[in-house]
Subunit: 286 residues, 2 copies
């Protein structure tokens, strides 16, 4: 997905939010704001939004010397999610349609995203998860069920911390024996890395790959060989969140995007309103 | 008032909104966005926000060849305000404190501002005016009454179209014989010019000055001699709206700022929440 003019005000706001989160020095805030404004003034709009976010956050880490500025919030979100997990697992077990219930919870967990939104409290997360099933789930549900039934190998692309804990519910329903989990290769915003997958207990369930990249999405050229091979060979790919959608659509693979629509640009791309829980096949975006 | 880092995301959004309002060609939107991002990357933060807005809107007029892109909305707001005027004039006449009621209505009329906000409908304007007196009016009310009682000459700095119609209520209470009205010298966003003052009927009440500038505020160095003399010699200045506040505080004059707080930066400066109706003396900001 290309960057649009509508992405620009949002990026400028995100840059200011992020700089204030990772540094106390107003001189650092001003320096990064000026640099980002300059980059954006001659940016290549054919790059995806996460490619620019990657560049901004790299520079912020360089300016502050802090390698993982969102670590504290990431731990908090993981712990909040782990606390909710038993109740949600019981909800899946009691469901008439555990696969779809688990998919819906995994999508509702995508509310935990510090890219588009500056802050998020525990109540918002609890409410989103507890009331997930009351919201409609839009997209290619029948095709999803059919592809899941057939696939021998499934590559699962995680998105954020906290959210990755709820992904365990869907991975349990998919059958962990055929699933490989991929996470970001390095810290970027609040995206999950191998450390978070371990916190979620996924190391005991499935093989795991760090994709080698510090983009808040999946920029294939920026990923390592191990990830690219897994991506190439999987029968089915399950991709969580906007960042993966923005970087992968269209990629021509047998891929389902599971996400909560969080901005007007993605909303226009999926033809569904902001806030919608979406599970749709990649063929819609080719 | 200086520009702050918080003004920048808002400016970028305003630039995109304005470019889409005044031009249909996406190439124009992209060109102005890239130019504004470049200007902002090395902007002088000691300039006031309206100084940058002036530059942006000048360039938009240059790119589109449209001298007064907000003309249609300005006419609409004037007409909407004129329709409401008799009912509000009756409210002032029936009030125990007609001066403060009129001041409050003039401040409530400051909701009509297309700078901070992209769109505004008739219901919002009607509600804001009809329920103005239910909101508290914060600031130096006693000092205002005292200064108004004493002043021999009052310079009244108008702000936006529509709003200027409600200013007639306050000017009637101040006593038109000692009031001079000043408006922008040229079209800028939806700010009132002489044409709008005539539409509001003010030409029949008071002497009027176009300030010679196309800034959405009062940048004294950019104003003509006639305005500067009136500004220098008035016993009392009444300044409407954020743009005038942002460009004039601190100016060391006997000035009252009458405005609705519309953004977090002005909110911080006046130490009152966004949405507050404010009437405060300039000495608070020296």
């Amino acid at each position: 997905m290309n960057t649009t003019l509508h992405c620009i005000p949002c990026f400028v706001r995100q840059t200011l939010d992020a700089s204030r989160k990772v540094a106390n020095d107003p001189a650092v805030h001003e320096q990064i704001m000026r640099e980002v404004l300059r980059w954006m003034s001659d940016m290549d709009m054919s790059l995806s939004p996460p490619a620019l976010a990657q560049r901004i956050h790299r520079r912020l880490r360089e300016l502050t010397g802090v390698a993982d500025p969102y670590r504290e919030e990431k731990d908090l979100h993981n712990q909040m999610a782990l606390k909710l997990l038993p109740e949600l697992r019981a909800q899946v077990a009691a469901s008439n349609d555990p696969l779809m219930t688990a998919a819906h919870l995994a999508i509702a967990g995508n509310i935990i995203d510090l890219g588009p939104k500056s802050g998020l409290d525990e109540n918002e997360i609890h409410d989103a998860l507890r009331h997930a099933s009351e919201k409609p789930l839009e997209g290619d549900l029948i095709a999803f069920r059919a592809e899941v039934a057939q696939a021998k190998t499934i590559l699962y692309l995680a998105d954020n911390c906290g959210e990755i804990v709820f992904d365990t519910l869907l991975i349990e329903q998919l059958g962990p024996e055929r699933v490989t989990l991929a996470v970001r290769g390095m810290p970027i915003i609040n995206d999950a890395t191998l450390e978070d997958a371990v916190t979620a207990g996924l190391d005991k369930m499935v093989p795991m790959i760090g994709n080698g990249s510090d983009a808040p999405g999946t920029i294939l050229d920026d990923c390592n060989e191990e990830f690219r091979q897994a991506f190439e060979s999987a029968d089915l790919i399950i991709s969580k969140g906007q960042g993966n959608f923005e970087t992968l659509s269209p990629c021509g693979k047998n891929i389902f995007y599971l996400l909560k629509v969080k901005c007007p640009v993605v909303s226009e791309s999926v033809c569904l309103p902001v806030g919608t829980h979406v599970l749709c096949h990649g063929r819609n975006f080719s």
